[in-house]
Symmetry: C2
Subunit: 337 residues, 2 copies
C-alpha cells in the first residue's frame, strides 16, 4: 500500500504559507480572512486532498454534527421510510445519522442511547413516548436535543412529532361504525412497551363504547403478514365472527386478506378489513386496502427540522400533531343486512 501519511491541517497551513489558525478559520466559520489567503488555503487543501479529522474537531469544538435515531426495526416500511427522510434532511444540513434498532425493547433502547451519547451525538430521535426514565435523564443531563416520533401525546418531557394514536383508533372505529358494523374486532399490535399500540386500542374501545358497542375481540399479533393471517383465522372461526376487523398495520391486514381469500371469505362482503399505515402494499392487494395514512416521511423531515433548529426556537415547536387521514379503498363496505 502506498498509504501516504495522512494529511493534517498543519500540512495545509505549511503549504499555504500560513498558520493552522488561519486554515481553521477558512475551513470553518469563514471569519475575517483576506481573500488572497483564503484562496491559497483552499487551493492547498484541495491539492493535498485534505480531509479534516472529525474527532479532533468535535473534541475541541464540542460540536459533533452527529445525530442518532433508535427505532424498533428497519424491517418495517413505516420506520424505514421515516428514517429515510430523516437522514436525507439531516445530511442536507451536514449532520450524519447513526442508526440503532431496539426491537421494541426499552431496555435495549437505553443501551443504544448510551452508546449514542458516547459517540457524541447532539440530538436523538426516538419512537413513541414510552421510555425508561434513565434514557430521558441521560439526554436531559447531557443537554442533548431529542424528539419523539409517531406520537403527539402532550408530554412534559420531550418534544413530539406525529399523530394522536387514540384518535387513530377512534377514527378506525368510527369508519366501521358509520358503515353499520356492530361486530367489530381488532387485530392489534403487541402492546408491551408499545404505547402507540396501547393508545390505538384504547381509542378504538372508547369510540365503540361511546356508541354503546363493545369490541368483539382484541387479539395481539405481531406486525407481520403471518400474524394477520393467523389472527384472522382465529377471529373467523369463533362462534360469532366479526363483520369488520381493524388491523394493526397494512401488513397484518394483507395477511388477513390472504386468509380470507384462501378460505373463500368475501372481503368486504362477509367481513370488512381495515389496515393501518397506508403502505404501498395497500394498493396492491385484492381488494385494495382501506387504511389510515401515517405520514412517515413527513415525520422524519419535521423531526430533522426540529433538531436542526437553534435551541431557542425549539421551545416553540415542541408538539407537532400531524393530521390523520382515512384512505377509503375496497376492503371495507357497508354492512349487508
Amino acid at each position: 500500500m502506498p498509504d501516504e501519511p495522512d494529511v493534517k491541517l498543519i500540512d495545509v497551513a505549511r503549504k499555504a504559507g500560513c498558520s493552522p489558525a488561519t486554515v481553521s478559520r477558512v475551513l470553518n466559520h469563514n471569519a475575517k480572512v483576506n481573500t488572497a489567503t483564503r484562496e491559497k488555503v483552499l487551493q492547498a487543501a484541495m491539492d493535498l486532498a485534505y480531509v479534516p479529522n472529525g474527532s479532533a474537531r468535535s473534541l475541541r469544538s464540542t460540536k459533533s454534527r452527529l445525530a442518532g435515531a433508535v427505532i424498533p426495526t428497519l424491517d418495517h416500511a413505516i420506520y424505514a421510510t421515516m428514517v429515510n427522510s430523516l437522514q436525507a434532511r439531516l445530511t442536507e444540513n451536514g449532520v450524519s445519522l447513526i442508526i440503532n434498532t431496539s426491537s421494541y425493547d426499552i431496555d435495549r433502547e437505553y443501551e443504544q442511547v448510551r452508546l449514542l451519547v458516547e459517540r457524541g451525538v447532539e440530538s436523538v430521535v426516538l419512537v413513541g413516548a414510552a421510555h425508561r426514565r434513565e434514557t430521558i435523564a441521560l439526554l436531559e443531563q447531557r443537554n442533548i436535543a431529542y424528539v419523539f416520533t409517531y406520537t403527539a401525546k402532550p408530554t412534559d418531557i420531550g418534544a413530539a412529532v406525529g399523530f394522536d394514536n387514540e384518535k387513530a383508533g377512534r377514527l378506525a372505529a368510527r369508519h366501521l361504525i358509520d358503515l353499520g358494523h356492530t361486530r367489530i374486532a381488532m387485530l392489534g399490535g403487541i402492546t408491551i412497551n408499545n404505547d402507540r399500540a396501547v393508545s390505538r386500542r384504547d381509542g378504538f374501545v372508547a369510540e365503540l363504547r361511546d356508541n354503546n358497542l363493545a369490541p368483539l375481540g382484541i387479539l395481539e399479533t405481531p406486525y407481520q403478514a403471518d400474524g394477520g393471517h393467523a389472527g384472522m383465522k382465529r377471529l373467523m372461526l369463533a362462534d360469532t365472527p366479526p363483520t369488520a376487523v381493524i388491523c394493526a398495520s397494512d401488513i397484518a391486514a394483507a395477511g388477513a386478506l390472504k386468509y380470507c381469500r384462501q378460505n373463500d371469505i368475501a372481503v368486504p362482503g362477509t367481513v370488512s378489513v381495515l389496515g393501518f399505515d397506508n403502505l404501498d402494499i395497500g394498493e396492491l392487494t385484492t381488494p385494495e386496502l382501506t387504511t389510515i395514512d401515517v405520514p412517515a416521511g413527513e415525520m422524519g423531515r419535521i423531526a430533522a427540522d426540529y433538531l436542526l433548529a437553534p435551541a431557542a426556537q425549539r421551545q416553540h415547536m415542541r408538539i407537532r400533531e400531524l393530521p390523520l387521514r382515512l384512505v377509503v379503498r375496497g376492503s371495507t363496505a357497508a354492512l349487508l343486512r
Copy 2:
C-alpha cells in the same frame, strides 16, 4: 437545567484515588490492573455515571468504532432489510453505523463517502460494484475497509458479498423458457449507474440468445408499483404482447399484476409474471408471485462479519457469492398452446 458539569475520566480517577492512566486501563484493554483497584474504578465510574468522550478516545487511539453505509435508499425493503441486519451485527460488536443514501447517484455517493471518512469511519458498505474512481481511491488511501453488496462480481478492487446478477437474469429467463415461453419481455430497472440492473438484463438477454430467442422488449421502469403498472400496460397493448414478463422487483411485479387484474388479463393464464427480490409482498398478491430470492438480511450479516474481521483474515473472504433461489409460486405457468 441542573446540567452538572460533565464527568470526565479524570474525575473518575480522582474519586477512585488513582491516575487517569489506570482508569483508562480498566475501562479498555483491561491490562494488568490489581483487582481491588479495578473494582474501585468501576464503582467510581458507576457512581459518577461516567460516559467516555468518544471523540477524545478516537482522536488518541485512532479507533472510532464507527462504520458507514451508503445505499441507494431506505425506502425499498431490499435495502432496508440489509441495513437492518448489518446494523444489528455491527452493534453486537460495539460498532455504530452511520447511514447515508445516494439515490442511485454515484457522485452523491462519493460525497457521502467523503463525509464518512471525515467522521472517521473504519469501514464502509457500498451497494453494487460501480463507483467513482475517487470513491475507491479515497478509501484505499485512508486504509478504510470496504465491501460491495448485492454483487459478487470478481473485482480486483473491493471485497464483495452478494450474488451474480447475470446468473440471476439467466435464472429468470431459464424458468420461463422451461415453461415453454418464447415471447418474453422485461420490465427492467433503471440501468443508469446501476451495474446490477445492467448485469441482470445482460444475463436475461444472453440466456434467451443461447436458446435462439430474442427479448420481446426491454423497458426500464422505476422500482415502484406505478412503474410496473405502466410498463405492463405498454407491453400488453403492443402489437405482439408477451406471454411472460420478468420484472425488476417484486414491487414492480405487483404493480404489473394490478394492471392485469384491472384489465381482466389472466395471470398466469394469459401472461406469466416473474418478480425479483422475494419480498413479503410476493406472498400477499393474487396470484402470489414467482420470484428470485435475494438474501438481503444474510448479506448485511456477512458484510458486517467481513468488516469486523481482523485485516489479516479479510484477505481470505474477499468474494462471497450467495446462492440464488427461484421461488415458484402462482404467477408463472406453462405456456398454453
